[in-house]
């Protein structure tokens, strides 16, 4: 037989545990956000670029031939010599006259767009233009 006292104790303990769990969850989420912010600060370097790039508060030297990346803090005297790169890789759709003139042009275009967006999410897209 369960008494009123037992039920009250059960609910009190449950509420206490819930409060502790909520604090722990908040801390976990905050840590995840901090990690993402750290990742965004170092920007993506375009694959054809060789040399110094400014990434936030640091400088990155990138060499494609040797595959060496070197990060070091920004010094005031170097600021004029370093180029800032705001590189945004556009999605390219290469189609022909017959594709556009056909009846199911919009279906093919939608399919191409979905494929491109999927590749962007994965981060597998390559630099196509030479």
């Amino acid at each position: 037989m369960t008494s009123v006292f037992d039920i009250a104790v059960y609910y009190i303990i449950k509420s206490l545990i819930d409060v502790i769990e909520s604090f722990r969850a908040k801390r976990r989420v905050r840590g995840k956000w901090q990690k993402e912010e750290r990742r965004e600060r170092v920007r993506y370097v375009p694959p054809d670029y060789l040399g110094f790039v400014r990434c936030g508060d640091r400088v990155r030297f990138y060499n494609r031939a040797t595959r060496i990346t070197l990060d070091f803090p920004l010094v005031g005297s170097l600021e004029g010599q370093i180029t800032t790169v705001n590189y945004n890789q556009p999605t390219r759709f290469l189609v022909t006259f017959t594709d556009v003139a056909s009846e199911n042009w919009y279906e093919t275009f939608r399919h191409l767009y979905e494929m491109a967006s999927r590749l962007v999410k994965r981060g597998e897209r390559r630099h196509e233009e030479r």
């Binding site: 945004n88 556009p90 999605t91 390219r92 759709f93 290469l94 189609v95 022909t96 006259f97 017959t98 594709d99 556009v100 003139a101 056909s102 009846e103 042009w105 919009y106 275009f109 196509e128 233009e129 030479r130």
Partner: protein, 148 residues
């Protein structure tokens, strides 16, 4: 360009030696004037501006008039290309025209590029459907860009 604004730009890669180019130029110019979209005509090839870097062209002209590529598609065409080269004319340097490029700039960033190659004015129905599809595509792109 400020953040939050967008624009659609249409460029036509054009050469005066090509007979199909002026016909397409007339049609596309009419669409762009109706929709108020900027339209640029870019001369390329031997007539083009030599000071301009050839960044855009190699991507479009990749493996078009190459003998190795022609053997896969049409072996007879490869024979002609070899004969032309023996005569002293190198077709690998030539660039196929017209090429229509649609650039979409969204939120102050270069977002999409749609490249349409080739044009066949002989078939009238195809040309009509091509113009209808292109016009509706440009209209929808403009709406999307201006709304954001």
């Amino acid at each position: 360009m400020r953040r939050g604004e967008g624009v659609v730009i249409v460029t036509l890669q054009y050469s005066p030696n090509c007979k199909r180019c002026p016909y397409l130029e007339r049609l596309v110019r009419r669409i762009c004037e109706d929709l108020r979209i900027p339209f640029v005509v870019e001369r390329i090839g031997s007539v083009g501006d030599p000071r301009k870097p050839l960044i855009r062209i190699p991507f479009v002209a990749q493996d078009t008039f190459r003998v190795e590529k022609a053997r896969e598609i049409d072996p007879q065409g490869a024979v002609y290309l070899e004969r032309l080269r023996e005569l002293g004319f190198n077709p690998e340097r030539e660039i196929p025209t017209p090429v229509l490029i649609i650039d979409v700039h969204k939120r102050g960033k270069f977002f999409d590029r749609i490249i349409i190659r080739g044009f066949d004015p002989s078939d009238r129905e195809k040309v009509r459907s091509f113009i209808e599809n292109l016009g509706s595509l440009l209209e929808s792109l403009k709406e999307v860009v201006m709304s954001e």
